[in-house]
């Protein structure tokens, strides 16, 4: 039924689909590089959601009220859901989610560097919602227009849910800022620790980001790392003012000529260290994920045996 098309015809058709700003869908022909890039990008994103459950999950049993505990449970459950939407998208490209989990727990695939920092106080839960989820939204809104259809659709669902995450974080911080002096200090201290790592979430500077050009051409990336980082800084400064906290950057000031906030140089050595596995919590995060996976083995086995037995009985 399908006429045999040459590789060149297929490539041209693929390029034409991108030029018209149409989406690439699961059974379309795509170049190997596109498939590999998309699997890697979506898998790393999925891993980030799954590992991202840990820093906040840490506080579920110690949340200060039932209200905060219910919110935190719902939020961490959402992160699990986001990871699963994304693993589902990778499978449409021919990846296998068991294999991807294996790559994560053996350290062969990465996840966002931000989750390798510890959550020391309950204020961290608020700051993660405000800054970390805020940065994630900045990154993810343009991905709702990614050229790969299943990824774009997953991002639309995720962005809708992230909005709750950011607002609950900001509300938590506003509540603490209206509390005691000790609570306000906790918020300021948490903001000081998370501000720079949040800016690093956008990845290396454009000059040091070799894959950006190809990703932009394939429309799997719509803005450069530096553009998104600037957008995030511009959004966060007025929010910090409302909250009554000072962002820990002496170089942060409005630049009327550019129409943007100028900000200081990031510590790229720290970024490289954390990305390459030497952050404060890298080993702990991966080890925890590995243990959870292995501890769940008997559940997976029991479910498979139960399913086989049910099938037998139906015969």
């Amino acid at each position: 039924m399908i006429a045999a098309l040459s590789e060149e015809d297929l490539e041209r058709h693929f390029e034409h689909t991108l030029e018209k700003d149409q989406r690439i869908e699961p059974r379309d022909w795509v170049p190997d590089g596109y498939r590999k890039t998309m699997i890697r990008q979506i898998a790393q994103h999925a891993h980030s959601e799954i590992i991202g459950m840990q820093p906040e999950g840490n506080w579920i049993t110690r949340a200060p009220s039932l209200r905060r505990k219910a919110i935190l449970l719902a939020k961490v459950q959402d992160e699990a859901g986001h990871g699963l939407y994304l693993y589902s998208a990778t499978e449409t490209l021919g990846a296998d989610r068991t294999d991807l989990t294996e790559r994560l727990i053996t350290g062969r695939q990465k996840y966002s560097s931000i989750f390798n920092y510890p959550t020391l106080t309950f204020a961290d839960v608020g700051v993660i919602g405000w800054l970390v989820d805020g940065a994630a939204i900045c990154n993810q809104v343009p991905l709702c227009r990614s050229s790969y259809g299943p990824y774009a659709r997953a991002m639309i669902r995720i962005c809708k849910e992230e909005s709750f995450h950011q607002r609950q974080g900001f509300e938590l911080l506003m509540t603490m800022m209206k509390g005691t002096a000790a609570q306000r200090d906790m918020v300021r201290e948490a903001v000081n620790r998370w501000w720079w790592p949040s800016l690093m979430m956008f990845g290396p500077p454009d000059a040091d980001s070799p894959n950006t050009a190809q990703s932009m051409a394939w429309k799997v990336k719509r803005h450069t790392n530096d553009e998104l980082r600037q957008r995030f800084v511009d959004m966060s400064v007025p929010q910090a003012e409302v909250l009554g906290v000072t962002l820990p950057d002496p170089d942060l000031r409005w630049n009327a000529d550019r129409g943007h906030y100028d900000f200081g140089e990031l510590d790229w050595d720290e970024f490289k260290q954390v990305v390459s596995g030497n952050g404060p919590c890298n080993a702990e995060r991966v080890e925890h994920r590995r243990k959870a996976h292995e501890d769940g083995e008997w559940v997976r086995e029991a479910a498979a045996v139960h399913a086989a037995r049910q099938k037998e009985r139906q015969r």
């Binding site: 859901g81 699963l84 997953a154």
Partner: protein
């Protein structure tokens, strides 16, 4: 986990609408697939009804536009109402 089945999930958003594909998941059997679909795709009242279908049971056409599969409908413009010229002074048509 290796032999858990891939299921495609379809959700009816509300009464009066069709079921729409929302994504996939892995489950050991049909019942688990339905429960997982509820937890994964309807955490915020997104649906009133869910279908789960084994991905292997779906027969699909190729989405490629060049596929001649859809050609038979391409040359039958007379199936569309705009094919017919009706004077402007004919009401209710």
């Amino acid at each position: 986990m290796n032999d858990w089945t891939l299921y495609e999930v379809f959700v009816r958003g509300k009464r009066g609408l069709n079921h729409v594909h929302v994504g996939s998941l892995r489950a050991a059997d049909d019942e688990m697939a339905l429960h997982n679909a509820r937890d994964l795709y309807t955490r915020r009242n997104e649906g009133v009804s869910i279908w789960v279908v084994r991905a292997a049971d779906i027969t699909a056409s190729s989405p490629d536009e060049k596929d001649p599969f859809f050609a038979p409908s391409g040359d039958k413009v007379y199936r569309h109402p705009t094919f017919y010229d009706i004077p402007d002074n004919v009401p209710h048509m």
